[in-house]
């Protein structure tokens, strides 16, 4: 039997990293007896190891709980968790499309941050009701009243009556539950109308196959029903419907307004599309639900298996990750140094790191990664225009009429004492100052236009370290601008190594070429012969360093009859060699390709 819509509340939690979103979700689950205290491992919704270790949420996750309100009625809450990092705006917009409301958590010691702001605007744009919550009021440095004022000033919603809580201790979390009932509107939908269900996430379960996380807007879905994907036209039979408690639990049906999952013997990962509308094959809806902001990859890098034989494993792993992560893109590429691999596109640098880490951890792969790049727009002398995401595909200088690079509108929020230091970073990164204003006496919001390729590596880290962790940062793509860019190549013993090529601004090319050549000399092990390491722009050598030849590799004396130990060393040496990449005559360790980045 369908649960009455007026007793359902579907909502997300929006918060900046570390402002306590996952902890609040945990407390809500506890206080609604969704999860027994003894089963609580900290931050239950963050089920990936990486999420828990880094203290961030990457994937949306959904959970159903039941809350008995002061009016005596039992409400069904569907909480859809959202990531807080700028890279994952896309996932946020997906989660929000499935909700009627959003709980905004703001840290009373920090105030509103740039990314929170971006996500709140997303929620408001999606027509969601926002429930402000002020967290961490138990900390001595908490300033709840000032934070409430800031929310009112910056976002423009009433916040002085917002629950002031400590998610950590559980203080006043009941007020949040209550506010959700009172502020978030119940879903509207007709359980008897033709089925429309929005797929807002999917997950590959080893037993059940691909699970689609859905929000049912109209109609009902149950086991045995034939459903149709409105994006692909493919039809499937539903093998199970269920909800997250937070472990998946089968239920008889999901009706209009509810959130849960559908398993439908979908074998190929490519058949499930996040953002798709699912309808009934027999009584199809006339039109799909509105999609949401599509995410486009902005950062690209080459990912190769350290052992060429693992190419197939890498492809399967990417296929599987793609199922959980629609924003990941990849296509096959080959490199003279690295062999067969993939050019992968990511939403941002954190996204890139997380995918690499998941590939290595969850799929046990050893990877070689090349320096990240952005998409450049090239106008050839022949008049043709082209987009290039791999520096090694850049045509020769004589064929290029003009080069354009992507630039972003960046918002930085910071305590005013760090303004000078942060402006310096932006200047160093070729930033163009737009404006600056005080959101309150000691907090500043700055706008800059920055080339994307200047922020894809360690910009965020720099920002954090030069503001003692207080500054926050958000960006959106502004468009393309003409720029004086050159391709910087590296030659090892005379052979060009394509995987090391990067595109840089001409003013920086010399310094960067020299720095990278020096770095390469540190990381390339000495070999039997001397290796010249050269940096070149369009065939002109701009820097040269030398890796000197190895003189001795056998220093140990043989240990008292322990021959196995020596043999193990030799085997390790052989293994190490296998993992080296051959560029012409030179063996290069896998991490050389990333080390190019670690240059100041």
């Amino acid at each position: 039997m369908a649960y009455p819509n007026e007793l359902i509340r579907n909502f997300s939690i929006i918060a900046h990293i570390d402002h306590g979103k996952s902890t609040l979700a945990d407390r809500m689950m506890e206080q609604t007896d969704t999860v027994a205290m003894r089963d609580m491992s900290e931050q239950l919704l963050d089920s990936m190891d990486i999420e828990r270790e880094r203290g961030i949420t990457i994937k949306s996750s959904a959970v159903r709980m039941f809350y008995t309100h002061t009016d005596g009625k039992r409400y069904m809450f569907n909480l859809i968790d959202t990531p807080g990092h700028v890279d994952f705006n896309y996932e946020v917009s997906r989660a929000l499309a499935a909700c009627e409301g959003a709980v905004l958590v703001v840290d009373a010691t920090q105030g509103i941050e740039a990314q929170t702001l971006a996500n709140v605007y997303l929620a408001v744009d999606n027509g969601l009701e926002v429930v402000p919550v002020i967290n961490k009021i138990d900390l001595p440095s908490a300033e709840p009243e000032r934070t409430a004022q800031e929310i009112e000033d910056v976002i423009g919603i009433e916040a002085h009556s917002a629950p002031k809580i400590s998610a950590k201790s559980g203080l006043n979390v009941d007020q949040v539950l209550s506010a959700v009932v009172n502020t978030v509107p119940p879903p509207v939908g007709d359980p008897d109308a033709p089925l429309t269900a929005l797929v807002f996430d999917c997950f590959y379960d080893n037993y059940k196959g691909a699970l689609s996380y859905v929000r049912v807007f109209d109609g009902t879905v149950k086991e045995g029903m034939r459903i149709r994907s409105m994006a692909t036209g493919h039809e499937f039979e539903v093998t199970e419907v269920g909800v997250f408690t937070p472990a998946p639990m089968a239920v008889d049906e999901l009706t209009a307004g509810e959130v849960g999952y559908i398993a439908a013997s979908i074998k190929s990962v490519a058949e499930t599309k996040v953002g798709d509308t699912i309808t009934s094959a027999e009584h199809p809806a006339s039109k799909p639900l509105p999609g949401y902001k599509q995410a486009n990859p902005m950062v690209f890098c080459g990912i190769y298996p350290a052992d060429g034989a693992q190419y197939g494993d890498l492809r399967d792993a990417l296929d599987k990750l793609k199922l959980n992560d629609a924003s990941l893109s990849y296509e096959q590429e080959t490199s003279n140094a690295l062999g067969y691999g993939f050019r992968c596109g990511f939403l941002g640098l954190l996204h890139m790191e997380i995918i690499q880490e998941r590939l290595e951890r969850e799929f046990d792969l050893d990877l070689v990664t090349t320096a990240p790049s952005v998409i450049y727009k090239i106008k050839r002398t022949s008049g043709e225009e082209e987009m290039i995401d791999n520096p090694s595909n850049l045509p020769s200088v004589t064929e290029i009429e003009q080069l354009e690079e992507p630039v972003v509108n960046a918002t930085i929020m910071t305590p005013s004492e760090y303004v000078g230091a942060l402006m310096e970073i932006c200047q160093e990164r070729r930033g163009v100052f737009v404006d600056m204003n005080y959101i309150e006496e000691s907090r500043v919001r700055m706008h800059y236009i920055l080339p994307l390729n200047e922020i894809i590596y360690d910009f965020f880290d720099q920002l954090k370290s030069r503001s003692r962790g207080y500054a926050s940062f958000d960006y959106e793509l502004k468009g393309y601008e003409k720029s004086d860019l050159v391709k910087l190549d590296f030659l090892l013993n005379g052979d060009m190594c394509d995987a090391l090529s990067t595109i840089v601004h001409r003013d920086r090319a010399y310094a960067k070429g020299r720095a990278v050549a020096e770095k390469l000399c540190e990381v390339i092990p000495r070999q039997q012969f001397e290796i010249p390491v050269q940096a070149a722009i369009g065939g002109k050598i701009i820097a040269r360093e030398t890796v000197r030849a190895v003189r001795k590799d056998v220093l140990a004396k043989c240990y008292g009859g322990d021959i196995t130990r020596k043999k193990k060393l030799l085997e390790k040496q052989k293994e190490g060699k296998k993992r080296m990449r051959q560029v012409g005559t030179v063996s290069l360790p896998s991490d050389a390709f990333m080390s190019v980045l670690r240059i100041n």
Binding site: R551, D553, V554, A556, K557, C558, G561, I563, T564
Partner: protein, 378 residues
Amino acid sequence: MAGIYLHIPFCVRKCAYCDFVSFAEGCVPEGYVEALLTELELVARGGGYPAAFDTVFFGGGTPSLLSGAQMKTILDALRVHFAIRADAEISMECNPGTVSPEKLAAYRAAGINRLSIGLQSTHDVLLNEIGRIHHFAQFLETLSSARAAGFDNINVDLMHGLPNQTLEQYLDSLKTVCDLGVQHISAYSLILEEHTPLYFRVEKGEVALPDEDTVADMQDAGIEYLEQRGYHRYEISNFAQDGFECRHNRNYWDNGEYLGFGIAAHAAVRQGRWTRFANVDSLDEYYRLLARGKRPLAETIRLTQRDEMFECVMLGLRLVRGVERARFFARFELDIAEAYPLAMEKLRKRGWVIETEQAIALNSKGLDLQNEALGFFM
């Protein structure tokens, strides 16, 4: 040729660079000596070892922590259980600062006829840096006591590549030791092993090791100097006056048979197939197994002929003389050059090999890059 190795895993204090199995104790516990005796008996009873032995070697740790009486007990038991040839080379490692003239005399009386003294450097600053317990002056006392006790076959260990060590200091150490007229010198490089105190200090930047080139210079200059002084290089890091090569170690490099006793000791014997044994490396485990009448083995590896062949190459190519063709042929009924045609080709191409009718050997360049050369054979 066949040898016996006994491991005495106790030291006054562990050196900063040491990752051998050893424990800081002022003496060797009686329990350990008793356990060794039990192990000797067990192995002797089990059979499957060579009929007679040409060498015995006490290594450590610090074997010179054994009292004269303990040493006599062990050697007597050895002779009861195994046939030790009358002319056998019976060596022990000995650290300055752990022996008295009386103790050395007792060792000699018990049958020890070769001493290997762990000097490492003649410079007290350097000795202190690597955590050795002795001063150079103590070494001099030990050496003269040893001679007075009748030892006339003495090795001295020296190291290069020590923290802050200069080439001049190293050559000075070599000169001092040559002047003292010992018969044998082991000159090896400091290997920075992980998980040692020195490793952590280097990681933290508290001490600096000489760079790769300086270490290579030290080694090259050392080899040249020792040859000049009549110590010929017969193995990568071993030098001897004529007739004083260490027979026990020679047996390892010839891939001969040997037994090993004590924790973490290794053995290799032919029991049908070529077989290697490794003892457990924990004292508790060692005592526990022996108390139950079991051999304290951690690992038994039966090798394929191909593996055995590779070991012969790996060990034999450490010797300046190289792998003897006749010996190799007698063992495998195959000439070494025929067994490894591709590897031989690579060696020739690099110009690292000396081929004669008697042996296949690496020249000095090949010895410098022996690991790379061995890679060809894998």
